[in-house]
């Protein structure tokens, strides 16, 4: 799980072009939206693309996205749970 969280932080920083933020500075449980990193609805869509391209998982509804992308840990848990379902 830790490796996945670490990888996700790097991938998020690249996908969302977070140039001013070091991946390791993103908290595992820090809210990605609203007060935390301050991402917005377009970033949800970018993260949906990231999930599809890197992890072959689909989120089709942006509202589900807000739950899945609540934090890096929430993303990692979603990936882990759905990877298990696929195997």
């Amino acid at each position: 799980m830790d490796k996945l969280i670490g990888d996700l932080k790097e991938q998020i920083a690249v996908q969302l072009k977070l140039k001013n933020i070091k991946p390791e500075d993103i908290g595992d449980d820090e809210p990605l939206f609203g007060a935390g990193l301050g991402l917005d609805s377009l970033d949800v869509l970018e993260l949906i693309v990231l999930l599809k391209q890197k992890y072959k998982l689909r989120v089709t509804n942006p509202e589900d996205g807000l739950k899945v992308f609540r934090s890096v840990r929430a993303m990692a848990e979603f990936i882990t749970a759905n990877r298990l379902q696929n195997t």
Partner: protein, 354 residues
């Protein structure tokens, strides 16, 4: 009613941004591709907002914000932009991803930002401007259409000032394509030597220039814009001459009243023949300077020319490196820009001292 240029800012292939000196030294480019000398954008734009911005958006937003600051206006009454190519980099990124991923979902930001009105919209979003917002994409007349829209707005209700800009960018892909279309010199030339090459082809250019236009004077106006006109694919030199003469008559002036002509010669022997003929038949003895060795050839280059003309009028001085033997001796009151883009779009912009 006069149209005053209260401020003018450009990011260009010259050191024009944040430079208190007016073209005191000229930058030379040697690869047929005059790319902008760009500032550190984190000083001009909130770093948190920069992350999504492509190069042309950064260039334009930085210029626009600086232009507003120089004019002392936080929120203009309208924002009008002109761009022929729009956000090319984002268009290219989205197209590339779409093809490579075979139409699977790809980055949405590139798609959203590929729309031509993104620049004007970004500026509005940053300063929370709810007023009139428009974008022209009329090829080599895009900036002129934006100017005309702005001038009309200033005569209409509730519009005392308009932020107007012209911008276009070079991307690796666009340069390759335009080169394949035969637009540029076959061999690399030094841009400052452009008018001595005596061969076909020009050099590629880019830039973003913004102006704050107002319908009332202020102590620090640069110049006034008297009139803008465009005409499309003239049949021959006679028709060009007719358009120019009609323009001068409409402004109640003759060629003798023009102190300086800023000409759109671009170093291509075929293209520049038109300017030579027009010079001979119409403009004759008027002192002339060129500008495309400074910014390159691109559809909205007249935005750079307008910045140049406005500063020349304000300083009553042509920068030494642009001077030629035919320079005006007296006060520079009226400056005319005459440009054509690929002999398709022809334009005239007349400026005067306020």
């Amino acid at each position: 009613m006069k149209t005053y240029i209260r401020s003018a800012v450009t990011i260009s292939p010259q050191k024009t941004f944040n430079n208190p000196l007016f073209l005191n030294e000229l930058a030379s480019h040697n690869d047929n591709r005059l790319t902008c000398i760009e500032p550190d954008y984190s000083e001009a734009i909130d770093p948190k907002l920069i992350r999504r911005m492509s190069r042309i958006i950064k260039m334009s937003v930085a210029s626009a914000l600086a232009c507003l600051k120089d004019a002392g206006i936080a929120n203009p009454d309208a924002i009008v932009t002109g761009t022929a190519y729009g956000c090319l980099e984002d268009t290219g990124i989205f197209l590339t991803n779409m093809v490579q991923e075979d139409e699977e979902p790809v980055t949405p930001v590139a798609f959203v930002q590929s729309t031509h009105n993104t620049i004007g919209a970004q500026v509005a979003l940053l300063i929370k401007c709810n007023r009139y917002n428009n974008t022209f994409v009329s090829g080599g007349a895009s900036f002129e259409n934006a100017l005309l829209d702005a001038i009309m707005l200033l005569t209409e209700n509730n519009t005392a000032n308009v932020l107007v800009g012209g911008m276009d960018e070079i991307t690796d892909m666009s340069h390759i394509v335009l080169n394949r279309l035969g637009l540029y010199k076959r061999q690399p030339v030094s841009s400052l030597n452009l008018f001595n090459t005596n061969s076909k082809g020009t050099v590629n250019g880019e830039g973003a220039a913004f102006f704050l236009l107002a319908n009332n004077p202020s102590p620090n106006n640069l110049a006034c814009i008297d009139a803008v006109a465009t005409f499309y694919k003239p049949e021959d030199i006679a028709e060009i001459k007719q358009h120019i003469n009609s323009f001068l008559v409409s402004q109640h002036i003759s060629c003798n009243d023009i102190d300086l002509l800023i000409s759109g010669n671009n170093g291509d022997v075929t293209s520049d023949k038109i300017y030579a003929q027009v010079q001979q038949l119409v403009f004759n003895e008027i002192p002339l300077i060129n500008y495309k060795h400074l910014c390159g050839e691109y559809p909205t280059s007249t935005a750079f020319a307008t910045w140049l003309g406005a500063n020349i009028i304000k300083n009553n001085n042509i920068p030494a490196q642009l001077n030629n033997s035919n320079s005006p001796k007296n006060k520079i009151n009226k400056v005319l820009i005459y440009n054509h883009y690929q002999n398709i779009y022809h334009s005239l912009i007349l400026m005067s001292s306020c």
